[in-house]
């Protein structure tokens, strides 16, 4: 068995869930929805990169 997993049962498109990141960021002074949208977009890119090595 390898090291402990950081996350369990993550859905597709997610490497690091926004909820986790949002908690770490604490108070968001501006437009939280914008930050979330862009976070999730790049998170999706990471997800696709990781899975591209397997889905072939």
């Amino acid at each position: 068995m390898s090291k402990e997993l950081t996350f369990k049962n993550l859905p597709p498109a997610v490497c690091v869930p926004w909820e986790v990141k949002a908690k770490e960021l604490g108070e968001i002074k501006g437009d939280a929805a914008l930050i979330k949208k862009e976070w999730e977009n790049l998170d999706l890119m990471g997800y696709l990169y990781i899975w591209n090595w397997v889905q072939r």
Partner: protein
Amino acid sequence: MAEKTSLFEERKKRYQAAMNLEKPDRVPIRLNFSGEFITKVAGYTFQETYYDWQKNNDATRKMLEKISDLEMVIGGANLWWAALHDAVGAKYLRFAGRDLDAETMFQYVEEPYMLPEDYDDFIENPTEWIATTYLPRIHTELAEPGSYRATAGLIKGAFGLAQQLGSGAEAMASYQRDFGVVPTITGISKAPFDTLADTLRGLSGIMLDLYQRPEKVKKALEVLVPHNIFYGMATAQGDTDFPVFMPLHRGAYPFMKMEQWVEFYWPSLKQVVEGLWSNGKRTMFYAENIWTPYLEKIAELPEKSIIFHVDQTDMEKAHQVLGGRFCLSGNVPNSLLAFGKPEEVKEYVKRLLDKYARDGGFILDAGAVILDDAKEENIRALIEAGLEYGVY
């Protein structure tokens, strides 16, 4: 320009009509060429298009210039850019010009890269397991996570893939603009069993798992279902005009007996196809080799949700069981394209169309991916025959 646009629209309409079981003006011709065939026609060496992605994209353009009347293409010649695999140190691919002669087709080295003891982590969080355990294992550059080499390897890998996809999309748009060709497919996905069997456990590994840890296999397949639906939609960038490519491997006969197929291969594949279909996305059910014993099960899928592709499946039986329910495609034997004469190809196509394309819902194609052994004159003969005998 306007002429090419209308050609694109005409071909798209024809393709979609066939997929919807209608009768277009004539049978659409969809040829699934390998990178190696395209490379050969374009006059490059395999090494050139594996390594030089500009040449890879040029190769398809050259083929479209040389073989007129091609109405669909997948994209640039090859699927995999060798340089990207060097950047990460991919153990599982061998390429022409590097560890193979410059004119040898790439080779996939199949090993159980995922071990039996990895199942639990995979089931808990496949994305994390792939990133932290699998990638360092299959990519020599990433072998020591956190090291300089591994960090550089990760960065180069991500840049490389982004570069490849960006130039691929540009190339596809240019083929469309300059030749009016439509994309054969948008996006790719797999049967969950194949995801597990092809790159992770390997064939021997998965076959032993069926006996030694069947419950883990089932759990892993269940976990894969939403990922595979999502992967198909995401790689298609949401497009639903064209089907998602699903190359099917280990579900062919005679890998598993019927009970195993029904227990392990089918349920998760069915869920993926249904999931895609509920997103409006049709699946190109690319059934390589023989699928005759499973036709009745496949008929359970929602009407029109797939294009059932015939390689060595019994064509008569496929038509009987699936005709009128799904669009059918394929069946022109690859050995005929490699060793036959143009007249024989034309004759075969004529018979095929007379017998099975009559009521619409049919796409002309070779049985399997067209490798570089296919003769160009036979491809031309196939197209000619399609244009001549495929008219409704």
